[in-house]
Amino acid sequence: MEAKPILNVSQVGISFGGLKAVAGFNLELYPGELIGLIGPNGAGKTTVFNLLTGVYTPTEGEITFNDERINGLAPYKVTRKGISRTFQNVRLFNEQSVLDNVKVAYHSLASHSILSSIFRLQKHFIGEQEMEAKAIDFLKIFQLDKVKDEKAKNLPYGEQRRLEIARALAAGPELLLLDEPAAGMNPKETKELMELISFIREQFNLTILLIEHDMKLVMGICERISVLDHGLLIAEGTPNEVRNHPKVIEAYLGEEVVSNHA
């Protein structure tokens, strides 16, 4: 924890038509951490992701990534700086093949121009070949290489989730944002997902911020947890501290019991 934070969010907020969706949000992420962001429905968790990735521009506060201010940057630029994400409701390129989904994420790492592709110059072939080889290797890690020519929409749900994570990683992030990756998964799939997250974190040297509803998953793998309610940060700390925090218990009352048997 001696290192400098990779992501620093200070006093960030946004309002839509006078309504504050998130206010005074603070977060520090250190390299290699795995942090959970939890909160009841409508607490503003996804809004935080949208603020971090440039989908929304914060109306207050500052976000710095690797000491560089990134608020207000277009989403694709944020991705190129090294923050990549998945979506709550899977957003794959449905009609494209599994392989092409990953290749799209490699897009900005290649450099052959439109003209070189149109006139099929040597550069085009080299660039495309590299992308293809890299993408196939990548799919192997996620055990998706056997279905590489399948359309993304034809994959079973669990594999779609996996493909989305693979695609996010292919964009080469230092910080990965996962928006409810276990949503809709059965316990077995959730367990595999937890293993996958731990694995990619080591393999790719990642920092991970995770939104999750599945308490078991969050409490099981996250080192620290931030809790949002009504757009405000109400608690922060280790899973144990958060679990016993009175405000958290209050926020979750009636919505979902923060299980003691996590």
């Binding site: 038509g17 996804t46 949208n50």
Partner: protein, 291 residues
């Protein structure tokens, strides 16, 4: 005084745009479809009025009501036959269908009766009044009056009746409305019926005012009315009325400046500017796509 005269002409033209725009806005509000065929409903209304007056000898008001009734049925038919099955498909598929329906109606009408124009019979007494140096014909006054009354009736239906409440509920959230026991299909049909009846009325008024009608007459006023709806904020009923009047006035001013050939371009330029700078229109709230 010249300007006051133009202003009045603009309001007359604008009231026609407004009547058509109301149908666009209501339909868009409820099923998020730009009903391209709406201009053709207007054309059918105009022809119905023409035949009613010229061949059956009806007066202005009976012809107006007949034409509104015919258009209401016609609008519901279009919805039931063509659009209903598209509710779950992409908006682009729906838009393409609407364009297809629009052209189909135009050319079926041409196929049946030919493309030649028709001269609208004079059914309203036409006297001119001189008010503050502005020439106002009794005809245009009556037309304006009819438009305003129709708009007030619409406002009443939308805000004071059960079907109006259902319409607002469905446009707000169709799924929730369904759960609340509202018959979504009937509500959508009612919306088409009311919107089409207004377009039918606009058709008769257009005929009386401009005296020349033809099968392709719906295209330009249809597009203009759509622009008026976007201008006022699509889905917002008072917005469509204001948008219609603003567009009517702008067009007459452009014509009065001696640029009548550019009149149609003016409307499209307004459209593009609005779409780029304030896509939600004058009265609309900005909304962002959910991620």
């Amino acid at each position: 005084m010249e300007w006051l005269q133009q202003l009045f002409n603009g309001i007359s033209l604008g009231s026609i745009y407004a009547l058509i725009a109301l149908g666009y806005t209501m339909v868009y509000g409820i099923i998020k479809l730009i009903n391209f065929a709406h201009g053709e409903v207007f054309m059918i209304g105009s022809f119905t009025g023409f035949y009613a007056i010229a061949f059956w000898g009806l007066g202005f008001f009976p012809a107006l009501i007949l034409s509104m009734a015919v258009c209401a049925v016609f609008g519901v038919l279009i919805e039931r036959i063509a659009y209903k099955r598209l509710r779950s498909s992409t908006r682009i598929a729906a838009l393409i269908t609407a364009i297809g329906v629009s052209l189909l109606i135009q050319y079926v009408v041409i196929y049946i009766r030919g493309a030649q124009p028709e001269a609208y019979p004079n059914v309203l007494p036409n006297r001119s009044f001189d008010i503050f140096g502005v020439q106002i014909s009794s005809q245009s006054l009556l037309i304006l009056l009819v438009s305003v009354v129709l708009m007030i009736i619409l406002q009443f239906i939308v805000h004071r009746t059960k079907i109006g409440k259902a319409m607002r509920a469905v446009s707000f959230d169709p799924d929730a409305a369904k759960l609340m026991g509202i018959n979504v299909n009937n509500t959508i049909s009612a919306t088409f019926a009311i919107g089409s009846a207004l377009a039918g009325a606009a058709g008769v008024i257009f005929g009386v005012y401009y005296t020349k009608i033809e099968p392709l007459m719906g295209i330009i006023p249809g597009l203009k009315a759509f622009i008026a709806a976007v201008l006022g904020g699509i889905g917002i009923i008072p917005g469509a009325v204001i948008g219609g009047f603003v567009l009517g006035i702008v067009e007459t001013v452009v014509s009065a400046l001696g640029l009548s050939l550019w009149r149609d371009a003016a409307a499209f330029i307004i459209l593009i500017l609005i779409l780029i700078f304030r896509p939600s229109g004058i009265f609309g709230k900005n909304s962002k796509e959910k991620v």
